[in-house]
C-alpha cells in the first residue's frame, strides 16, 4: 500500500473513533428500546429522519440551531409517546414479531407523510457558523463539527447511564426488562415505564437526525441505512447493554475506517462481516446477557 504514512494511519484511526461516536449516537435510541422493551423498532430510521426534518422546520422558524437541538428530541419523543401508547402497547405479549412488523409499516407511513408535507426535494441545513471549519489535531485537519458530536454523544450516553443505573426509575426499568411479571406483581405500573423508555429512545433517534443533518443530505429516505447500521451496533454490542452499544459503535467505526483505508470499496461489507462473526462466536453479542430473550 503506497502513500500510507504513520500520520495517515493515526488520522484514520481517529476518524474511525469519531465515526464510531456517530454510530453510537444513531444506535443508542434503538438499543434502549430493543434491550429494555424487547421491541425491535423498525421505524428507528424514520424517527431519525423525522428529527432531521423537524430540525429543518424549527431552524426556519427560530433561525437558531441550539433551540432546535433542544426542541427536536422533545417533539420526536412526544411522537414516540403517542405511538407507543396507541400502536405498540396493544402488541405486548403477542410475541416479538408483531411490534417489529408494525414499526415496519409505521416507517413507510412516516416517510410518506414527510414527503407529503415537505416535498420530494432535499432540504439544505448548514453547519452553524461557530462549529464550521476544520481544526488541526496534530496529525491533520479534522472538522470541528465532528468533534462537537463526540462531546454531545458522550453527554447523552452519560446521562442515559445515570438515568438507568442511578435513579429509582432506572431500577424499575432494569427489573422490568428481566421480569415484567414480578415487577407488575410488586404493584409497579410497568406500562408507564415502557412508555417513557420508548419516548426517550425515539427522542434520541430524532436528536441523532438533527445532528446528522449538517453532514448528510436531508431527504425522506435518509433513515434507511441508519436503521441497518444501528442494528449492527446494537446486535454486536449485545441487547440492553449501554456499554455494549458504545464499545460496539467504536469497534464498528474503527473496522469501517481501516477497511476504507485498505480496501475502500468493501467498507460497507465490513460491518456485516463483523456482525456475522460476533454473532457466531457469541450469539448474545459482546455485552449481552444470555437468555435475556428466547
Amino acid at each position: 500500500m503506497n502513500g500510507i504514512t504513520l500520520e495517515l494511519f493515526v488520522m484514520q484511526m481517529f476518524t474511525g473513533l469519531a465515526l464510531g461516536t456517530v454510530f453510537v449516537l444513531m444506535a443508542v435510541g434503538l438499543s434502549l428500546i430493543f434491550g429494555l422493551l424487547t421491541v425491535v423498532n423498525f421505524a428507528h430510521g424514520a424517527f431519525y429522519m423525522v428529527g432531521a426534518y423537524v430540525g429543518v422546520f424549527l431552524m426556519g422558524v427560530t433561525g437558531n440551531f441550539w433551540v432546535s437541538l433542544v426542541l427536536v428530541p422533545i417533539v420526536v419523543g412526544t411522537l414516540g409517546l403517542v405511538i407507543e401508547r396507541f400502536l405498540v402497547r396493544p402488541l405486548y405479549g403477542r410475541g416479538i414479531d408483531y411490534p417489529l412488523l408494525l414499526t415496519f409499516g409505521l416507517a413507510l407511513v412516516l416517510v410518506e407523510l414527510v414527503r407529503i408535507i415537505f416535498g420530494l426535494e432535499g432540504q439544505s441545513f448548514d453547519v452553524p457558523e461557530v462549529l464550521s471549519g476544520a481544526v488541526n489535531i496534530g496529525v491533520g485537519y479534522f472538522p470541528l463539527y465532528r468533534l462537537f458530536l463526540i462531546g454531545v454523544t458522550s453527554f447523552i450516553v452519560f446521562a442515559l447511564w445515570l438515568f438507568i443505573e442511578k435513579t429509582s426509575y432506572g431500577l424499575i426499568i432494569r427489573a422490568g426488562a428481566r421480569d415484567p411479571e414480578i415487577v407488575r406483581i410488586l404493584g409497579v405500573d410497568i406500562s408507564k415505564v415502557w412508555l417513557i423508555v420508548f419516548a426517550i429512545g425515539t427522542g434520541v433517534a430524532g436528536l441523532a437526525g438533527v445532528l446528522a443533518a449538517p453532514m448528510r443530505s436531508v431527504i425522506p429516505d435518509m433513515g434507511s441505512t441508519v436503521l441497518v447500521e444501528a442494528f449492527v451496533v446494537t446486535v454486536v454490542g449485545g441487547m440492553g447493554s449501554l456499554v455494549g452499544a458504545v464499545v460496539a459503535g467504536m469497534l464498528v467505526g474503527v473496522v469501517v475506517a481501516m477497511t476504507s483505508l485498505f480496501w475502500p470499496s468493501l467498507a460497507d461489507l465490513s460491518m456485516f462481516v463483523l456482525m456475522a462473526v460476533v454473532l457466531l462466536v457469541r450469539p448474545q453479542g459482546l455485552f449481552g446477557q444470555k437468555g435475556l430473550m428466547g
Binding site: 502513500g3 500510507i4 504514512t5 500520520e7 495517515l8 488520522m11 484514520q12 476518524t15 474511525g16 469519531a18 465515526l19 456517530v22 414527503r115 416535498g119 420530494l120 426535494e121 432535499g122 432540504q123 439544505s124 441545513f125 448548514d126 453547519v127 464550521s132 471549519g133 476544520a134 491533520g140 485537519y141 479534522f142 472538522p143 470541528l144 463539527y145 465532528r146 449538517p214 453532514m215 448528510r216 443530505s217 431527504i219 429516505d221 435518509m222 441505512t225 441508519v226 469501517v256 475506517a257 476504507s260 483505508l261 475502500p264 470499496s265 468493501l266 467498507a267 460497507d268 461489507l269
Partner: protein, 420 residues
C-alpha cells in the same frame, strides 16, 4: 431428466386446457392464439411509455422529467400531431429499481400497447428497460447517463441515448479544469459502473493534459459518511479532486469534504453538477465547485431554442426555470415525436431511420444521433457553482464558464464500443 419432463408436460397440459377454454377452433397450435399484436393497436393514439422514479430519492428530478416530457407531447398535439393523430404520455413509477422498471415496461408494452418508450433516471434501470424494449422491438430513448448502454453488449438498433454519457461530461470537465488548476489529481469514485465510467472519462482527458494521479479512492455506492475516505485524499495534497459520484453521494461527499477544510486546499470538480441537488444542498457546500451539465436555464441568453423552452416552462410553473433533467425529458420525447413526424408513421423502422438522419435543436443548440451507437452528440456546458453572495435570486445558482462543443470526436470511437 425426469423432473424436467414432468415440468414440461405439466406446463403443456395447462396450456392445452387453456387453449380449449379460451380459444375456439382447431389448428390453433401452429399459429399462436395469444399473439400480442403490437403494431396494430386498435386506437390510433401515439403512445409513449415513460417509466421514471417518481418515488425514491430522485423523485423531484423524475417529476421534472415527466413534466417536461408532457410539455413536448402537448406541443406536438397543439401543432396538429401526426396528421391529426395525437400523442399520449403514459408515466409510470419505476421506483428507481430495475426489477420494477422491467415489470412496468412489460405492462406498458403488453397492456397499454405503447409504440415507444422513453425515460429512466439510473444507469442500471435504463439497461433493464432497454433489454425489455429491445426484445419486443420497441424503440427506447434513454434520458439518463450511462456509458454501458452504448456498448455492443447492450446496444440494439432500438436503443437511443439522449442523455450525455459520463465519458463526454467527465472528459469535457477534465479538458477545462486540468490545464487551469494543476496536474496533481485525486479521484473519489463511487464503486459502480457509472462511477468508474466517469473516472475513465477524466483520465482520458488527463492523458492529454499530462496529469499525475496522486490518490484514487473508491467508496461504496450510497455511502452516507465519507469521513473515513477523506484523510487519504487530503494526505496526497492534490490540486484537483474529481468527484466521480452522483446526486446525493456527490452532495454528501462535498459537504463533508468542505467540513474537512478541503475546499481551501484543492479545486473540487464533478462531471455532472445537478441543478436540483445544488438547490437542496445549499450554496455553501457547492460554491466554487466546477462541473458539467447538459443544460442550465442561463443558456436562454445565448441560445434561441433554450429561450423558447425556458419561457414555455416558466409560463407553466409560476416563473420557476426548468432543470437539467427536466430538459432531458423534454428533448427525449420531443426528439422522438419530431422523428415520428418526419417518418410520417409510428412504424419502428421508419422512426429509427428518421432519428438517425435528422439533426434536432430543441433546447440547447443542435444535436444529432451518432449512427453507430445512437448516442446524442451535443454540447457539454461547464458551470461553476455560485456563492450565496453572488446569487441574484434563488434560481441563480450556476455561472456558465465554457462550452465543450458538440463533436463526435470526444466520444469513444465506434470500434472501442465493439460496434464495428
Amino acid at each position: 431428466m425426469t423432473i424436467k419432463n414432468e415440468n414440461m408436460s405439466s406446463a403443456g397440459l395447462s396450456r392445452r386446457k387453456i387453449i380449449k377454454g379460451a380459444a375456439a377452433g382447431a389448428g390453433v397450435l401452429a399459429a399462436s392464439p395469444f399473439l400480442l399484436n403490437i403494431a396494430g393497436a386498435a386506437d390510433d393514439t401515439i403512445k409513449i411509455g415513460f417509466p421514471v422514479p417518481l418515488t425514491g430519492p430522485y423523485g423531484s428530478e423524475a417529476k421534472e422529467q415527466a413534466l417536461c416530457a408532457q410539455m413536448a407531447v402537448d406541443e406536438f398535439n397543439a401543432a396538429g400531431g401526426l396528421n391529426g393523430r395525437m400523442a399520449e404520455l403514459l408515466v409510470r413509477d419505476d421506483k428507481l429499481k430495475s426489477g420494477e422498471a422491467a415489470k412496468r415496461t412489460q405492462e406498458l408494452i403488453e397492456k397499454d400497447k405503447v409504440h415507444f418508450v422513453a425515460g429512466s433516471l439510473s444507469a442500471s434501470v435504463q439497461l433493464a428497460v432497454n433489454t425489455i424494449c429491445a426484445d419486443r422491438e420497441i424503440p427506447y430513448v434513454s434520458i439518463s447517463q450511462s456509458d454501458a448502454i452504448n456498448e455492443a453488449k447492450n446496444f440494439t438498433k432500438y436503443t437511443f441515448h439522449e442523455a450525455m454519457n459520463p465519458h463526454m461530461t467527465a472528459g469535457a470537465v477534465g479538458r477545462y479544469v486540468f490545464p487551469k488548476e494543476g496536474k496533481r489529481v485525486a479521484f473519489l469514485i463511487a464503486d459502480y459502473a457509472y462511477g468508474h465510467e466517469m473516472a475513465r472519462g477524466f483520465k482520458e482527458a488527463g492523458k492529454a493534459a499530462g496529469i499525475e494521479i496522486v490518490a484514487e479512492v473508491s467508496h461504496p455506492l450510497a455511502t452516507k459518511d465519507y469521513s473515513t475516505f477523506l484523510p487519504r485524499i487530503q494526505a496526497a495534497k492534490p490540486d484537483v479532486l474529481c468527484l466521480c459520484n452522483f446526486g446525493y453521494d456527490q452532495m454528501n461527499s462535498l459537504k463533508q469534504a468542505t467540513s474537512f477544510g478541503m475546499k481551501d486546499q484543492m479545486r473540487m470538480v464533478a462531471p455532472a453538477l445537478l441543478y436540483n441537488q445544488r438547490r437542496a444542498g445549499g450554496a455553501a457546500a457547492y460554491s466554487n465547485v466546477i462541473g458539467g451539465t447538459n443544460f442550465y436555464w442561463g443558456l436562454e441568453d445565448s441560445i434561441p431554442s433554450a429561450k423558447k423552452f425556458v419561457d414555455a416552462y416558466r409560463k407553466l410553473n409560476a416563473g420557476a426555470p426548468p432543470s437539467d433533467y427536466g430538459a432531458y425529458g423534454y428533448a427525449g420525447v420531443g426528439g422522438l415525436l419530431a422523428a415520428v413526424k418526419a417518418a410520417g408513421s409510428t412504424d419502428a423502422d421508419a422512426v429509427i431511420a428518421a432519428m438517425e438522419s435528422t439533426p434536432y435543436d430543441l433546447y440547447k443548440g443542435e444535436q444529432h444521433y451518432r449512427k453507430c451507437d445512437h448516442q446524442s452528440v451535443q454540447s457539454v456546458y461547464i458551470i461553476e457553482s455560485k456563492a450565496e453572495a453572488d446569487m441574484a435570486n434563488e434560481y441563480d445558482v450556476f455561472k456558465i464558464v465554457a462550452e465543450d462543443k458538440a463533436s463526435e470526436d470526444v466520444l469513444r470511437s465506434c470500434s472501442a464500443l465493439g460496434l464495428g
